[in-house]
Each structure stands twice: as structure tokens, then as C-alpha cells.
């Protein structure tokens, strides 16, 4: 099972913040395809400028394999302070 977390405006686009996917997709890229098939608007938002992905709390560029139970977070541009 992969745990998928959406932050900021991505959660508003999707209408959810956290979801489990069973079984865990083999790769991050496959999870992206799955999310875009379910929700075209979310798929587009995930490809938007400045959106980053983190797997098990590590920022990832490109595609990597996912271990079963992986936590995948999609992070839109950040703004604190």
C-alpha cells in the first residue's frame, strides 16, 4: 500500500489530502499516471511549475521505484514566514 499526501492547493484541486493505493505502484511515474487517469485536473496540477515530489520524506527528481508502503507527497511551491 502506498500512502499519497497532497499539500497546499493540490489538496484543493483533488478534494482529498491523503489516500492509500493498494497495491503500491512499482514506480513513482506509474503512480503519477494512475492519479492523472483518476483525475485529469490533479494530473495536470502535479505537472505544474514548481511542484515537487517527496518519497519517504526525501525530495525526488525524476522517476524512482517505490517500496511497498512508500509515503509519496506532492508539494506545490512553498511559502512560509
Amino acid at each position: 500500500m502506498a500512502r499519497v499526501l497532497l499539500f497546499g492547493r493540490l489538496a484543493d484541486v483533488a478534494g482529498w489530502r491523503e489516500r492509500a493505493y493498494e497495491p503500491t505502484p512499482a514506480r513513482l511515474g506509474q503512480l503519477r499516471v494512475l492519479l492523472a487517469q483518476e483525475d485529469l485536473a490533479l494530473g495536470k496540477a502535479l505537472e505544474g511549475p514548481g511542484v515537487q515530489a517527496a518519497v519517504d520524506k526525501m525530495l525526488i527528481r525524476g522517476d524512482i521505484p517505490l517500496r511497498p508502503g512508500a509515503e509519496v507527497a506532492f508539494l506545490p511551491p512553498m511559502s512560509g514566514g
Binding site: K57, A73, P76, S79, G80, G81
Partner: protein, 146 residues
């Protein structure tokens, strides 16, 4: 010390704690950020963080500041959740032997927190909620540090 707080914090108490018992420190700089209503009628901000990930990212920035500016210590307190306009949202404290290092490290850490730290900020105004993303000014402030 890095703390994310879901409830209001007391900046004076944090500064007193941070300053207590120092013998090698000649300078402490504090920056206190308040939740500002960007548009007329804005009532509150909501700040989201990613548990564990956000604290680790701030800790890594504090380590960069520590080696770059000969910093002796630093503390960051950042509010999360719903914050009323006018309430403290962030406190950065830096301690060094001399003031220049403490000023620069505090400035560096605030530029990082503003544009690069994992927070997402929503403003609740008269036209409904909207997400705030870094401004061009925030990004050029951050770029000053290379």
C-alpha cells in the same frame, strides 16, 4: 531548537530562554514576523506543514547558516494551522560572538523560510480563501545568498 507550534507562542519568553546562561555569545538577533492581512478585510492565515519533513528541512538550513556565518546557535519557532492577522507567525533567533554574523544569519534564515521551507500558506479574505506563493521579491531575496 526548531519548533512548529499549532498555538500562539510568546516571543519574549522564547528570547529570554534563548539568551539565558550564554558566556561566549556577544550578539543575539531576533526577527519576529506577524501575520499580515495582504488585502483589506483579510482575517486569518492558515499554514500547512509536512510533519517531520518540514522540521528536517529547517534543521538543514540552520546547519548551513551555522557553518556559513560562524553561528553559535539558532532557534526557529514557526506557527502552523490557523493564525489570526496580527499574531506572531515566525520567530528566528541567532546567536554569534559578534553582531554582523548574527544579523546575516538571521536574514539568511528568514529568506529561506519565506521562499524555500516546506510551508503552504492560505489567506482567508473577503473574497474567500486563496493560496499565497512566493513573490518575485521573495525569490530575488533568496537568490542573494547564491
Amino acid at each position: 531548537m526548531i519548533r512548529l507550534s499549532a498555538t500562539p507562542f510568546d516571543p519574549q519568553a522564547a528570547l529570554a530562554d534563548f539568551s539565558a546562561g550564554r558566556t561566549k555569545v556577544g550578539a543575539i538577533v531576533s526577527f519576529l514576523g506577524l501575520a499580515r492581512g495582504d488585502v483589506a478585510g483579510a482575517e486569518a492565515l492558515e499554514l500547512e506543514a509536512y510533519d517531520g519533513f518540514t522540521e528536517a528541512a529547517i534543521a538543514a538550513a540552520v546547519e548551513r547558516a551555522r557553518s556559513r556565518f560562524l553561528l553559535l546557535d539558532a532557534a526557529v519557532i514557526h506557527r502552523v494551522g490557523r493564525i489570526a492577522v496580527g499574531e506572531p507567525i515566525v520567530l528566528v533567533l541567532t546567536a554569534a560572538a559578534h553582531r554582523r554574523e548574527a544579523f546575516e544569519a538571521c536574514d539568511f534564515l528568514m529568506d529561506y523560510l519565506k521562499s524555500d521551507a516546506p510551508f503552504w500558506k492560505k489567506e482567508f479574505g473577503p473574497d474567500g480563501p486563496r493560496w499565497i506563493e512566493p513573490t518575485q521579491r521573495d525569490l530575488s531575496d533568496l537568490a542573494r545568498w547564491g
